[in-house]
Amino acid sequence: MKKVYSRPKSLKRRPFHYCPGCGHSIVHRVTCEVIDEMNLQERTVGIPPPGCSVFAYHYFDVDMAESAHGRGAAVATGLKRAYPEAIVFTYQGDGDLAAIGTAETIHAANRGEKFTAIFINNAVYGMTGGQMAPTTLEKMTTTTTPYGRDPVLEGYPIRISEMLALLKGAVYIERTAVNSPAHIQRTKRAIRKAFQTQIDGLGFSLVEVLSPCPTNWKMTPIEAWRWVDDVMSKEFPLGVIKDITGARDAD
């Protein structure tokens, strides 16, 4: 018998601090698989956010630089402009990318900055204890919407990816999930395509990943993974939102 599945080389051998069933663990792993398969470990610089994944550098065995909350897109812009040969990716949560970082995200996409944004959407602010995020669903209970999100007071969940698709500088945007083997493989393909978009110098790429957060959703891992299909992806439909790369689907 031969081994057909094991830890990717660029994923450090360190137990994840993430909760059981958390989407971060999956996305970290498939991103590292892509980095290995595309031979990018020596060229990659990642920019993790404040948040549960602030310690992403404990897991990704690539150069990484901390960023202030929400500023990942600006840091990535400066880094990529200063040294275009690097493969630069930001790894950002929903608050980081679509609340405090909205301006940076939109304008980096608008300028077609050639980095990849991996956008982890778990509809809640995880690290700080479960407050409302821009992507929190209507009626969803969080610690700052204890009566359920009321659009009249708190607005609607934002589909930032669809908004970014309106910008000419954004060339590849896809929304995926990591709550089933098929979705996980699709996420991996999307990240690979996003990195390829960057390598080809085509413009801004973003992969939005619907990510289960069992702890703050107050569910078991299995319930959380099901909730992504049953509820969350109804608000945030999976699929390619924009693709003007002209390339065939990465496989």
Binding site: M1, K2, K3, V4, Y5, S6, R7, L11, P15, F16, Y18, C19, P20, G21, C22, G23, H24, S25, I26, R29, S180, P181, I184, Q185, P214, T220, P221, I222, W225
Partner: protein
């Protein structure tokens, strides 16, 4: 197709996703808690395992290695 898997007991956080997704009922729940306090997954019956790898794909902790003929 024959296969077998190895689950790292100490990495497992007992999320049971592997058990949920395994098409061959290869995985069950251990009787003992691991050092971190989780009840880890355990291989029931490797005789049914085809080495499809679905368990490893869904395992968030990269706790499973998969072997196939």
């Amino acid at each position: 197709m024959k296969g077998y898997i190895e689950i790292d007991r100490e990495l497992c956080k007992g999320c049971q996703l592997c058990q949920t997704f395994c098409p061959k009922a290869v995985i069950g729940v251990h009787s003992k808690v691991n050092a971190a306090g989780y009840v880890p997954a355990v291989v029931n019956e490797n005789g049914n395992c085809t080495g499809c790898g679905v368990c490893a794909i869904v395992c968030p902790e990269v706790a499973i290695e998969v072997y196939r003929e």
